[in-house]
Amino acid sequence: MTESLFFIFATMAIVSALTVVVTRNPIYSAVSLVITLFSLAGIFLLLEAYFLAVVQIIIYAGAIMVLFLFVIMLLNPGKEAKFLSLTDPRTLIVTLLSIAFIGMIFSLVSGSVNYIGEVMGSVEELGTTRNIGLTLFTKYLLPFEIASLLLLVALVGAVLMTKRNLR
């Protein structure tokens, strides 16, 4: 059951992620990205990371993608060009990154490099809200407080950048 659900969500995630890249209309890309994020939330759920799954939807699908849509609607760009031209410097960057990414996947599948590290302790019940709270507010207290500073900086930055338009 869990396995078949995993394959359903994984297929959804991959297909919609491909649509994000392939489609030439930015709005379609944004909507497909929402579907990708949703499928990822489903996969988190199957991994028993309940809090992470729901936060994935609240923050990414419910807040960040709304901003994306606003920006796309605000700028109202037309369709994207079909291909980058070969002389465009971005072509080189994209090619290099793609090769690196394919290499990473290959090394991961072949098992020569371990990117993930050891899983600590029992996975059971690890992803519940209670356990996240217990670790976040005792063991990882400093990162938590630093996160609030980071958010403050982001807030100040966002307001400063649009300051001209405010007054």
Partner: protein, 337 residues
């Protein structure tokens, strides 16, 4: 296993069927209440007391032409109503509407899914509801609908903060996100007496989230004609309406669950009364929810609409700081008293 699946599917059918029926009669009730407030009859031609009016309306919208404007973005235009309706139908799944019964050798809870992140699930799915509104407004290629969509999505995200923060006070008292735990913690003392400020914030925010008067700026018929769904006609229009009214029902049910003891009955322990108790609990839940549904209609025909700057002022400068203060006060109270 098969019995389990059968039970799950039965519950889903009951909830979806119940929601559709409730929406149909809520719309009739709205028109009847409007008639009462404005000293006229309201619908009274189809069936006794207009009781068959919802069926007539439903059939009518299905038989009407479905127009797609010439320059609309077709795919998004067709998807948007589903993006409003689907989340609206899913949110009710985690609300417990009764104490549950023992049958087929197991305990059957009156709730589709009793999950450990219940309240967050509702917030997550509601935050998805924004897309239908903003994309429907954008794709129709109509200036009014674009304005309506953008306005309403900005309103929904603004009030989501106050909504989310007001609930934290209750979570501090209960220590669980599971809605059934929140209901059971209210036996003997409703949360509305423990968290009156949170209740007021939640009530106001929920009205804004469902785009109802005095916060119906998305529609505001005098300036935007109809808002984000101007161009929609026929069945797609009724999908928007179904979604909107389902949201109202879920919102009322959620107010009852969080603040008014959910399915509990004051002074009676329904869990000890067997089937009669289960019945009583459902009745109790329905009566309380019905009251808040009536409040929705009552407010709609009583209050005028906010201006957009007043709306933003209320959301960001009054409700948000108030919710933070309430939260701090609750936490300090638990810590030091």
């Amino acid at each position: 296993m098969l019995t389990d699946i059968a039970i799950i599917i039965t519950k889903i059918m009951i909830v979806i069927g119940g929601t559709f029926t409730a929406v149909a009669y809520l719309i009739l009730a709205e028109r009847k209440v409007a008639g009462f407030v404005q000293e006229r009859y309201g619908p009274n031609r189809v069936g006794i007391w207009g009781l068959l009016q919802p069926i007539a309306d439903g059939v009518k919208t299905m038989l009407k032409e479905d127009i797609t404007p010439a320059k609309a973005n077709r795919i998004i235009y067709h998807l948007a109503p589903a993006m409003v309706l689907a989340p609206a139908l899913v949110t009710f799944a985690v609300v417990p509407f009764g104490s549950g019964i023992d049958a087929f050798g197991r305990h059957i809870a009156f709730q589709i899914a009793d999950i450990n992140i219940g309240i967050l699930f509702i917030f997550a799915i509601t935050s998805i509801g924004v897309y239908g509104v903003v994309l429907g407004g954008w794709s129709s290629n109509n200036k009014y609908s674009l304005l309506g969509g953008v306005r309403s999505s900005a309103q929904m995200i603004s009030y989501e903060l106050a909504l989310g923060l007001s609930v934290v006070g209750i979570l501090l008292l209960t220590g669980s996100l599971r809605l059934n735990d929140i209901v059971e913690a209210q036996i003997g003392m409703w949360n509305v007496f423990r968290q009156p400020v949170a209740f007021m914030i939640f009530l106001v925010a929920v009205f804004a989230e469902t785009n109802r008067l005095p916060f119906d700026l998305a529609e505001s018929e005098q300036e935007l004609i109809a808002g984000y769904h101007i161009e929609y006609s026929g069945f797609k229009y009724s999908m928007f309406m179904l979604g909107e009214y389902s949201n109202i029902i879920t919102a009322s049910a959620l107010i009852v669950t969080l603040f008014f003891g959910g399915w509990t009955v004051p002074f009676i322990d329904v869990t000890k009364l067997g089937h009669l108790g289960a019945f009583l609990s459902v009745v109790s839940f329905a009566v309380k929810t019905g009251f808040f549904l009536f409040l929705y209609l009552w407010v709609r025909w009583t209050l005028p609409r906010f201006r957009y700057d007043q709306l933003m002022h209320l959301g960001w400068k009054i409700l948000l700081p108030l919710a933070l203060l309430n939260l701090l006060f609750t936490a300090a109270w638990i810590t030091y008293v």
